[in-house]
Chain length 314, copies 2
């Protein structure tokens, strides 16, 4: 039989490691597997190191020490050992459709009938991932932002044939683990996260194409402006409380919002001169050999923000 | 003659108060005026109280005490007294075109020839605000987010006839005051901030119209997900460092971004059933009588984030 707080993670890269921190700090029993044993060794060392560093700075999630949390994580050496008896399986392998399909095909051999099989994919439909599988009604996508232990949002997407209780249970499990799940009611391209993210990206490309602003200035817009607000408030709430309510906002600015969409014109392709300009700026600011350092900086900041958000409730 | 660090603020509402905190904590000499004397009294009391509370929590900007900063703010009882000798004038009156025009017309009577006249407007073109004025080459829009003393981004927009040195000087003054100015190279609808903000708003309305997600879940997307990332990183940087660079991102996801724009279909109006659903959720979560409280909570959070961002550099 499955144990409620028993989780299997398949894949021990950056996302797998982060999921391990999520679940272990919430006292879930985590079994982790990777088909490359050395990646498993490196991954486990990295999990230990990350949790230790967070603890030193007083930034570790949950009411648990790093050492204690680490004890909740068990290295496994086969899919069988990893998945058998788990109530929740999260695959965290590369974003490759065939690879994910084969992982699920292998996992369902050992999974119990009441398992939840979740994919970390950011854009593969669960219906395509699960098609033809024996446990296809137990499969969802549970797509996190990177890294899930610092950014708690997870979007859940079900296939048309997914058992509805799988979605409810997944939501509960993820909430118990301290995440903030949101549920897409249908499979639509880009799910939710990418629809918002990409709409911002496209607008940025248009602003650069039309030479309205320099890339350097544009990139300040979020971290010193809108992003600070969005770190605490929904996009719609901001409009609601900054006016006499959302209806007032819509009657005052609705026409402008409509006109801006019209003026935005046809879809833009992410290529050509705007891409060159953007590439030039980003390569200069964050050359390849400094990206790792930037990730560390970003994760440190996210950990501090995570703590700030949790300290006094949000 | 003008003094470099001498600033005049016209209007003592929420935005005017916040500008006063920005400039006084950076040791600018601030003169403030409002045509309603009681608003001036209330506004000054509110500035004092806000700075005091921030100081108590160790969250006041700059290297200055609240009491000392407050001494940099001088109440004036006429436009003449407020504007004469100021190097930088920021109007912070209501978002009403005729009102702003008349404020500038009055201000330029007393302003020196090398003044900078800045409007806080979020969507009025500086060319329309300054048309026909004697000092029309000295006028810009310097639009902050709310409140500027906690969210440092300011977008600067010039009219075609604005003296280019006005833009450079305004940028320097605002930077010296601790803000993060960005410059629009031309007057376009929505400037920069609203183009990004409204594109997100429109996408949210589409997601609700198409019943892809509940309003309650959708509103978690920013504060627990994308917004946390955007609090520290530009929208384009995120794509750059999460892949093998922005060009890699565009070749992997460019087609999806393009398709999503196509599928997004025609512009959406902010009305009808989606608005009703959104209104219902927001009114329930943040009814009118709790909005002030929510603003206080938000400002407290923003002050903590502001400190976090400044502590270890960003």
């Amino acid at each position: 039989m499955t144990q409620y707080k028993s989780v299997a993670l398949i894949g021990c890269g950056r996302i797998g490691q982060s999921w391990a921190i999520v679940f272990s700090t919430a006292r879930f029993h985590v079994r982790i597997f990777d088909n490359m044993p050395e990646r498993l060794d490196d991954g486990l060392a990295s999990i230990k190191s990350k949790m230790g560093k967070l603890e030193e700075k007083g930034l570790l999630r949950g009411n648990i020490s790093a050492a204690e949390a680490f004890k909740f994580i068990k290295r496994t050496s086969s899919m069988d050992q990893c998945v058998t008896g788990a109530s929740y399986v999260q695959e965290c392998v590369f974003e490759n459709f065939d690879l994910k399909r084969s992982v699920f095909a292998e996992a369902e051999k050992y999974a119990s009938k009441d398992v939840i099989l979740a994919s970390s994919s950011g854009d593969m439909f669960p219906s395509r991932l699960s098609e033809g599988m024996k446990l296809k009604d137990r499969i969802i996508v549970a797509h996190p932002l990177n890294p899930p232990h610092l950014v708690p949002l997870v979007e859940i997407i079900a296939a048309p044939w997914t058992d509805p209780t799988v979605v409810t249970q997944a939501r509960t499990i993820l909430e118990d683990a301290g995440q903030v799940p949101i549920v897409a009611k249908k499979e639509t391209a880009g799910f939710i996260i990418c629809r918002i993210q990409h709409t911002v990206t496209a607008e940025c490309f248009k602003l650069i194409r039309d030479d309205v602003i320099s890339v350097n200035d544009l990139e300040k817009l979020m971290p010193y402006g809108l992003g600070m607000r969005y770190a605490f408030m929904g996009a719609l709430e901001a409009s609601h409380i900054n006016t006499n309510g959302i209806k007032d906002f819509c009657s005052t600015y609705g026409e402008q919002v409509y006109e801006l969409q019209k003026e935005a014109g046809p879809p833009i392709r992410l290529e050509g001169p705007p891409l060159e300009k953007i590439h030039q700026h980003l390569e200069q600011q964050f050359p390849r050999n400094k990206v790792e350092q930037r990730h560390e900086w970003k994760d440190q900041k996210l950990a501090e923000l995570y703590k700030l958000k949790n300290e006094t409730g949000n």
